[in-house]
């Protein structure tokens, strides 16, 4: 089977950058980041099951400055992927494909994710 003559999709450098494209790339990037984040969730749960000492050391790492920084990033990634995932589910019903609508709902995703991330962390600090 000859496959050399098939048309190729242009590379990223050739496309003119658009908001919807950036939001789409960020959806995949946040998905991968969240995949890495599951390692932390599993470690945390296993530490909880192992006992108080293991749990305290896990909490110490997670509660450190770097741990909180990563957790903050994962909070944003989670809300971004959640909000944009809902946008995808709406698309699956056949709605929201008009260019201006797709761009507007796209802008709404990082704004909502940012606001929810801040709200979550403000509430988290009040809960302590």
């Amino acid at each position: 089977m000859t496959t050399e003559n098939r048309p190729l999709s242009p590379h990223l450098q050739i496309y003119r950058w658009q908001w919807t494209m950036a939001y789409s790339i960020l959806h995949r990037a946040t998905g991968i980041a969240l995949g890495v984040g599951t390692l932390l969730l599993v470690w945390w749960l296993v530490a909880l099951a192992t006992g108080p000492a293991a749990f305290e050391s896990a909490q110490a790492v997670i509660g450190s400055f770097l741990g909180r920084l990563f957790l903050f990033g994962w909070t944003f990634a989670l809300f971004y992927h959640l909000a944009n995932g809902i946008r995808h589910l709406v698309w699956d019903t056949g709605h929201g494909f008009d260019l201006d609508v797709a761009q507007k709902t796209g802008h709404a995703v990082p704004i909502a994710a940012g606001a929810l991330t801040l709200l979550t962390w403000i509430l988290g600090y009040f809960a302590i």
């Binding site: 969730l41 749960l45 108080p52």
Partner: protein
């Protein structure tokens, strides 16, 4: 799989199968729309599960071992956590599969990374579920 029952009369194709039935089992992976559909099913499940998880974590920020274990030992929380783990890792391996298929073109590397993704997802999910059950049944 049984062949699609169809009878050609002139230029009209007659089939007793529904449009969805006709594409099931097709595609290069012979799985039809299954991957796409399961990604949506797990995505829908993850919307309430994720919101519950964030709400719960915010409520227990900085909690010690005893408090956290007691929280997870409640049947509702343990069940929700197991559901979250199941939906998360199912959704994750479906998503990472597409990423691997898109970016890794060498067949050997693709198979190797795919194996790591699939096996690690199952192993991590089992470890997490075991941890939840252990806490639920002993705390």
């Amino acid at each position: 799989m049984t062949p699609v029952a169809c009878k050609t009369t002139g230029d009209k194709q007659m089939s007793l199968k529904t449009p969805l039935g006709q594409v099931r089992g097709l595609g290069s992976a012979r799985s039809g729309t299954h991957h796409w559909w399961m990604q949506r099913v797990t995505a829908v499940a993850l919307v309430p599960l994720t919101l519950w998880f964030i709400y719960s974590m915010v409520g227990h920020a900085g909690a010690g071992h005893g408090e956290m274990a007691r929280w997870l030992a409640s049947p509702f929380n343990a069940i929700m956590m197991v559901l979250l783990i199941g939906a998360t890792f199912h959704h994750l391996q479906l998503g990472l599969q597409v990423v691997v298929e898109d970016y890794i073109h060498s067949e050997a590397a693709k198979v190797a990374v795919m194996l790591v993704v699939k096996l690690a997802s199952v192993a991590l999910a089992v470890a997490a579920v075991f941890a939840v059950l252990k806490v639920a049944f002993t705390a």
